[in-house]
């Protein structure tokens, strides 16, 4: 219709494109002349969410069947709560980020739901062992609800992700102070299980600041690298065929990294330290596309690892457990050995939800939840979960590639890489591929801070993908004919 030579729209498009020959063809091909109607993918998101809800409810029912329990009313509460919470999230995304990626929210919903079911299943096992065990599933469901509120708030406050670019140093300092706070607090307020990485408000809640500091550091790195990108990728002396970067260009980033790593190493929290280092290195590489940075970073990592092995006894124990897990199966390596036995018991198809003994592994609901899932769902099920993470990270990278600004691109890449690296580090640790470091499995593990921080990451990723997939805003129609007419009138009046 717009291409019709007689219609005014066709005429305007014709003169607007300025191609006298074949203008009708050009007009139908040019998307700018069509109304900007593009599939938002919200329908697909809703269907996948319903699918995820069906899977989670099925998982819950299988757990109940295997545990020989009657289908209690509590079951309806959990399933209903889960559905309601994610239906609200879907409506929020529809309203606030209508063009956002349709896959991220359902994938997160499924992972979070499976985590909830597994935590509930572990609660049942704990309740069978001790009568006074506190159930974790209701708390985790509460944290999920709180996280989704925070998810909403993030989408609501950050209407445009480029606004984050304005205050990188403020964010970085806030993150750093938050990160260093547990080290400054007395042990009674900051120590849980030997790691001084918490801020505890006794009787109320405890927060793990490193999860949130990670996000602010990634935002800072994205903003900083975008502003320094040109200098970083060109300048520097050459040595052995590598273009060495000038250290002064990276000064603030290196200083920040050193301080945060120092804080984390001193407080015995090597998992987040590894994560932050890896993500920042990947972001520097993405921003500059220089292999020399990668080599320098990996050499620094190797040096740091050797030093840490020499001076941090905690790490030496971890490495020994990793190298010789069966040297002390009842002592130091009990947890890893039980995890490996669990995975072995699960085999290819698993024992079935609720039919295994994943509760034998200490901390099965936090660090070792993938071992619990691997035992009950087997290799096939655990692979499905890892594929879910892969798709999630892949969609994040897709948003990074499609982002219209460098900052959004780098931020999305950094955030999704952080999820991918975290999954690799913890599942690698649980399966004995790499030394175990304490990290949560994003969205699956029990833990409020981790859930909250990961939902903020999800909101940021959705925000960036929304802005990249949104069709360009149509210019107010100033037709060629009108412009020509106006020019004529002006020139006439000038004469």
């Amino acid at each position: 219709m717009t291409g019709g030579p007689g219609s005014p729209a066709g005429l305007s498009g014709n003169s607007g494109n300025g191609s006298p020959a074949g203008s009708a063809k050009a007009n139908t091909a040019a998307p700018s002349n069509r109304r900007p109607r593009r599939r938002t993918g919200r329908g697909a998101e809703l269907w996948l969410l319903i699918f995820a809800a069906i899977i989670v409810t099925a998982a819950l029912m299988i757990v109940e069947l295997n545990q020989h329990q009657a289908l209690k009313i509590e079951l309806v509460y959990y399933g209903g709560g889960y559905l309601a919470v994610f239906a609200i999230a879907h409506v929020v995304v529809r309203a606030l980020a209508p063009y956002a990626d349709p896959l991220m929210l359902p994938l997160v919903a499924l992972l979070n739901g499976l985590g909830l079911v597994m935590i509930y299943r572990l609660d049942l096992a704990e309740a069978a062992k001790h009568a006074n065990a506190t159930p974790q599933a209701p708390l985790q469901l509460l944290w999920t609800a709180v996280s989704l509120v925070l998810f909403l708030v993030t989408l609501l406050v950050i209407r445009d992700h480029t606004s984050l670019q304005s205050y990188p140093y403020t964010l970085a300092f806030a993150g750093l102070i938050f990160l260093a706070l547990p080290a400054a607090l007395p042990r009674s307020l900051s120590e849980v299980n030997g790691a001084k990485i918490w801020i505890r408000i006794p009787g109320l809640l405890s927060v793990q600041p490193s999860e949130f500091a990670k996000i602010t550091l990634i935002v800072f790195a994205a903003a900083f690298l975008v502003s320094k990108r040109g200098v970083l990728s060109t300048a520097g002396p050459r040595f052995l065929g590598l273009t060495l970067p000038r250290i002064r260009d990276l000064g603030p980033l290196v200083a920040l990294l050193a301080v945060s790593l120092g804080v984390l190493v001193v407080s015995n929290d090597l998992g987040p330290a590894l994560l932050i280092f890896g993500v920042l290195l990947a972001m520097v590489y993405l921003a500059t596309s220089r292999v020399s940075w990668l080599i320098i970073g990996l050499l620094a990592f190797a040096g740091g690892a050797v030093l840490a092995y020499q001076f941090v006894p905690h790490l030496r124990v971890r490495v020994d457990i990793w190298l010789h897990p069966f040297a002390d199966p009842q002592g130091a390596s009990y947890q890893l050995v039980q995890s490996l036995f669990g995975l072995g018991t699960g085999g290819i198809f698993g024992t079935g939800l609720g039919a295994g003994r994943p509760d034998i592994v200490p901390y099965a609901s936090t660090d070792f939840i993938t071992a619990a899932l691997g035992e009950e769902l087997g290799l096939v099920g655990l692979t499905a979960i890892i594929v879910c993470f892969m798709i999630l990270v892949g969609r994040g990278m897709r948003a990074a590639l499609a982002a219209r600004d460098n900052f959004g691109s780098l931020l999305a890449a950094g955030l999704s890489f952080s999820i991918g690296l975290q999954v690799f580090v913890i599942i690698g640790g649980v399966t004995g591929l790499i030394p175990l470091t304490g990290l949560t499995t994003p969205f699956v593990s029990y833990g409020g801070s981790s859930l909250l921080a990961n939902y903020i990451i999800l909101a940021l990723l959705l925000r960036i993908s929304d802005s990249s997939r949104r069709p360009p805003v149509k210019q107010p129609r100033r037709t060629g004919t009108l412009a020509q007419a106006r020019t004529e009138i002006l020139s006439r009046s000038a004469k």
């Binding site: 300025g18 697909a44 079935g352």
Partner: protein, 161 residues
């Protein structure tokens, strides 16, 4: 009998899990198809662009069209639109440019678009690699007709009504 149900539920759940992944992959596929359709539009536009490039004289065919936007058609900033307002448009890699190019072949302060009455003209600011108005390297302030590509480094932009 219950054992059979449990075995079936165990396998059924794994099948359900993988069906979800298949559904997710189908969504990705349809998403890629939408993106590819969008790209077909872009290639049609770029073909039109190429055709336009071979007829440099054509641009003067519409002398009366007043430009209102500057559109980047190629390079890392492709798709960027800039409303022409009063005052010059500074193009370059410098942070304070009106159009900040992320282009290794552009200079920090590369070129400037200035308004001359109803017209816009481009002026090179002593760039390393030069500014081209439709294949011709400009040496002085040159008026830019609507639809004629300005090449700066690897980026191409043009004025549109």
């Amino acid at each position: 009998m219950p054992a059979l149900i449990l075995q079936l539920s165990r396998l059924g759940f794994l099948i359900l899990l993988w069906l979800f992944i298949l559904a997710a992959i189908r969504v990705i596929r349809s998403d890629m198809r939408v993106a590819a359709e969008g790209r077909v539009g872009v290639t049609a536009a770029s073909k039109r662009q190429q055709r336009r490039n071979t007829i440099p004289a054509r641009a003067t065919a519409l002398p009366g069209v007043r430009p209102s936007t500057l559109v980047v058609t190629a390079g890392s900033m492709a798709g960027t639109r800039l409303r022409l307002q009063n005052g010059p448009i500074l193009i370059g890699r410098a942070e304070d440019s009106t159009l900040v190019l992320d282009d290794d072949f552009a200079s920090t302060r590369h070129a400037r678009l200035i308004q001359q009455g109803d017209w816009w003209a481009v002026e090179d600011l002593g760039s390393t690699n030069g500014t081209y108005l439709d294949r011709i390297k400009i040496t002085a302030t040159t008026p830019v007709p609507v639809g004629v590509p300005i090449r700066i480094g690897r980026s191409v932009m043009e004025l549109r009504p």
